[in-house]
């Protein structure tokens, strides 16, 4: 399908039409924060944003969701999402994160029905990124400001219009459904736009050999050094679009027992604590190592890709400016024999 285009001033009309047919989520600016919120007549989307403070992961993996409800005799029907949704304006990094989450939650042997229904019922309309910020490093992890992975439709902002390209069948259906709002000739110079955007990413950390360098440095004093400043909070994980680790917690209220799946974080000391008191990762350094290993070593080992999309949120929001780009470089530069002799 050829690219089509829509004038920027027609976007509100498009979103209005979409919100009549779908549950629509788009970036909005409220209380000084940009976040994906439900768009209805009372709320306007904004296109004037670099990226949202918190990733759109929450729309697919809610911070807490009930995975079963039991009344003491029988289980109630699973509360699977059955509305059709559109998420408009996700950046390519965040869309690619969905492709990475699919690798974990939607496998041949096992599927998380809650995640999978959310994915299936959601059309992801991505907006390519023309203005990466200084903390972005998507190009270092095999993505880019114009990556179309995980998106159903990718749009690119050019002059006074958006050029749109359907990526998946779901995207094609979406473009067909709203075709009358688009004009057929949407030929923007995507290559040139992508190049310009990529050139704006000034700091390009070298992540090519990160798996090998981590392999060689599991036992290494560098972890102790790097983790010293880490507070062990979950800010980086909770705003990360690819961090998916979760906890299952029981909840009991009158007559109802629920199992709740909540976000969790490998940086928390209790994450791996056994009932016996034994903890395989008893200190911060082991936990920070796990976090990096999971993203840049284990993920690649299991799925052939890094579990990071380079959105830079952790760089922006770390309370102590522990910069993952720098950490990877420091690990790679560390002498790789253990210092114990």
């Amino acid at each position: 399908m050829a690219d089509s285009k829509i004038a920027k001033d027609k976007i509100p009309e498009l979103l209005k039409a979409v919100s009549a047919d779908y549950e629509l989520y788009a970036p909005t600016a409220e209380d000084g924060t940009i976040a994906f919120r439900r768009i209805d007549s009372a709320r306007q989307a904004t296109l004037d944003y670099r990226n949202t403070a918190v990733s759109a992961k929450e729309l697919f993996l809610p911070r807490a969701e009930v995975v079963y409800e039991f009344d003491g005799e029988k289980f109630l029907d699973d509360a699977l999402l059955d509305q059709k949704r559109v998420v408009f304006g996700m950046r390519p990094c965040d869309c690619r994160a969905l492709a990475l989450l699919d690798l974990n939650f939607d496998t041949e042997q096992i599927k998380d029905p809650f995640y999978v229904t959310r994915r299936q019922n959601t059309v992801v309309v991505a907006l390519a990124c023309n203005e990466p910020v200084s903390s972005c490093f998507c190009t270092a992890v095999g993505s880019g400001p114009y990556s179309d992975q995980g998106a159903d439709v990718l749009m690119a902002e050019a002059a006074d219009y958006l050029s749109a390209r359907a990526i998946t069948d779901k995207g094609k259906d979406f473009m067909k459904q709203y075709g009358k709002l688009f004009s057929a000739d949407g030929s923007a110079d995507w290559k040139k736009l992508a190049k310009e955007a990529e050139d704006k990413i000034k700091r390009k950390p070298e992540f090519g050999n990160v798996k090998a360098s981590l392999d060689e440095r599991f036992e290494n004093d560098i972890w102790e050094d790097i983790s010293q400043k880490c507070l062990g909070c979950g800010a980086c994980s909770y705003i990360c679009p690819t961090c998916y680790c979760f906890d299952l917690v029981s909840e009991k209220t009158a007559g109802r027992i629920r199992k709740v799946k909540t976000w969790d974080c490998c940086m928390f000391g209790l994450f791996t604590l056994h009932a016996s008191g034994h903890n395989p990762r008893p200190v911060n350094s082991a936990r920070l190592r796990q976090k990096l290993m999971h993203k840049f070593n284990y993920y690649r080992e299991r799925y052939g890709v890094d579990g990071c999309v380079g959105c830079g949120r952790c760089v922006r929001k770390c309370p102590v400016n522990l910069d993952i780009r720098e950490v990877i470089e420091q690990v790679a530069a560390a002498p790789n024999a253990t210092t114990e002799e």
Binding site: V67, Y68, F70, G72, F75, D78, L80, D82, N104, F105, I110, K111, D112, P113, V116, T117, Q120, N121, F218, E219, Y244, C245, F246, D247, L248, V249, S250, E251, K252, I257, K259, K261, D264, C266, F271, T272, L273, H274, A275, S276, G277, P280, R281, A286, Q290, M293, H294, N297, Y298, E301, R302
Partner: protein, 290 residues
Amino acid sequence: MPQRKNEIAMRNPYRPILTEIEKITIENEARDLKTFRLAFCHAESADNFRYECGQFAELTIFGVGECPIGIASSPTDRGYLEFTVKRYPDGLVTNALHNCCVGTRIGVRGPLGNCFPTDRMEGSNVVIVGGGFAFTTLRSTIRYILHEKNRGRFEKVTLVYGARSPGELLYKQELERWQGRDDIETHITVDKGDETWTGKEGFVPAVLKEVAPNPDNAIALVCGPPIMLKFTLPVLTELGFGSGEIITSLENRMKCGIGLCGRCNIGSKYVCKDGPVFTYEQVQALPAEM
């Protein structure tokens, strides 16, 4: 019933099946080890729950929580499941479970994880080494092997099992029955006996060395506390067992039990999904984070 617009034939992997505690056996003197026999509440779940030796299940105390426990009954035991659970003072679920009485509803999610390689063990001598309460899935395996339908598939079976004291040995009546059989060689030992104890005294590795099972055409299954493993594995290696022929079972804190929640990994391997059964060779390749 209203039809979902987007019906997806997906099993909810977080939802347990219902069972009921049928029998509780206190296993040790310290009374912190109990065996729970669970009966399926629905006939179809009894048919669907097909497991193998070495697998585990997540047990749910409704409203309290869930914990992963190795299946102690044998696949040849039909109609019920058995789990031997140690109560830890800090363990939310194990405490609640120990407070349960016969008839309590327990949720079971499973069977989970991989299993002991009974196919590979076929036609081989089997050496089973267990210590303390890490004997549950080994018990399952012994019951399976000794079952009349299966015994012919395996060659010589040697068991070395030890506990701290006579009162801490699991499955005492069963051990006695096994000692009376001639198709399994049993060596039961305790670290320190009491006035009634007439059996062996000594640590498992030392007894194993003395028994010196022949490594030819043999597979060793070893489960026990870390300290026992640390000293037992070198003994087996010394006896000539290859690290691919030594098989053990690991544990870690788990939540989902199906490789999704990202908690129980050692290196890139999930204990819940890629394990809990690993060969010594595989364990040696894992990073030291256990």
